[in-house]
């Protein structure tokens, strides 16, 4: 039950973009069209799922027993970067259809702080393997939800008469702010 709560908390209550501000660059950058936004969301879910497992295993089996857990930041970022490269090569060779759909988003994910953030979060909060995975996938689902919703709203805004000074990035930021207000409604649901 606790695991399920962690998942919901990661996806809605502590939404990764709107209340923890991780992965903001791609949230604002790739949310122009609904298709690209969902593609990015799917790629993030996929990468976070694998990277959380990998980082948790490396931390529990290598860093902790050897008492070198202060190296976590360096190790995790290298793991994420290597993993992303590896996934891209693997997909290109074996699942070309999936590569065509997600391929262009993968390099963007290396510097997506949500991926590294989740790995560090799990260590900091001392989650076990399953709880960490639930928190990670929950976070990724939260990212996918918010980027898809923002993309939908942005497509509608295109046809609207936005005041000149607010055209471009400012109106997107206002939209994101209003979404953040909506998501604060979830706070207090799970403590």
């Amino acid at each position: 039950m606790n695991t399920l709560l962690l998942f919901i908390s990661g996806a809605l209550v502590n939404n990764v973009v709107l209340s923890r501000f991780l992965g903001l660059c791609s949230f604002l950058g790739v949310s122009k069209k609904k298709e690209t936004a969902t593609g990015m969301g799917a790629a993030v879910i996929f990468t976070i799922f694998l990277s959380t497992m990998l980082c948790a295993l490396v931390y529990m089996l290598i860093l902790k027993p050897l008492h070198i857990d202060y190296l976590q930041t360096i190790v995790f970022i290298m793991l994420v970067a290597a993993l992303v490269q590896f996934i891209e090569m693997f997909m290109k060779k074996n699942v070309p259809a999936l590569h065509k759909a997600l391929g262009i988003y993968l390099p963007l994910i290396t510097t997506n702080c949500a991926v590294l953030g989740v790995a560090l979060d799990n260590v900091e909060k001392n989650y076990n393997f399953i709880d960490g995975l639930a928190w990670g996938v929950g976070t990724a689902v939260g990212y996918a939800i918010s980027i898809t919703v923002l993309a939908g709203i942005r497509e509608r805004i295109e046809g609207n008469d936005v005041p000149h000074d607010f055209q471009g990035m400012p109106i997107v930021l206002v939209t994101a702010g209003l979404m953040a207000i909506a998501f604060t409604g979830f706070s207090g649901m799970i403590t």
Binding site: F21, L24, C25, L116, M169, G177
Partner: protein
Amino acid sequence: MNKCVERLYNGIIKENPTFVIMLGLCPTFAVTTNAVNAIGMGLSSTVVLMLSNLLISALRNSIPDRVRLPAEIVVVASLVTVVQMLIQGFAPSIYDALGIYIPLIVVNCIILGRAEAYALYNPPLESFFDGLGMGLGFTLALLILGSVREIIGHGSIFGISFIPADYHIAIFILPPGAFFVMAVLTALQNRFKMPCATNGDAKENDLSCNGDCLHCAGMNSLENHKALCKNAPGMETVKAEAAKKEADK
């Protein structure tokens, strides 16, 4: 020496990382709930930026081109770990307030961006001052955002309160407030036609996406950064050297 001063000016005003290039937004929004946190984050990033620029610039001739990104990441991650331990040891209250955002300095695009765009092509001293300028520009931007949010949301500045609690607008220290303050600041930049990567009606320029952030897929930031730095001092020598190498072949 003039070059170093020029680098400082460039980082703080001309190419301010937050307001002009719009890099590294995550910590900008997350830690600016008050001015003290903003300064803490800004200065930690400044230290990392200065030292990473210095080291990468010193190593620039020995890093093979094919592994340059992993090499840069290792340098930056090591420095961040050192800074994290120092903050934990000497300023535990700031460490608690900034939390996970300190290790996340590693993935702050400003740091890799500066390494890619400047430190790889310029001598150590200038790169060091470039890092210092960019870092101070970042700190300044964080301080502006942090002060605005603290004054409106909490009625205080640096913890000294001067507005009675009845007039606080608490939403400004909550996450949505960060988006609103930044939206108004970028709208002001649009209004006064100040140079900014996000101006909707930017004129013809060297940016790879034509300065059109409205239709950007987010992949252009590093390229843009290089384009903005194209006229920076030092780049001529790089180009001349490249041309010379070509001629030698």
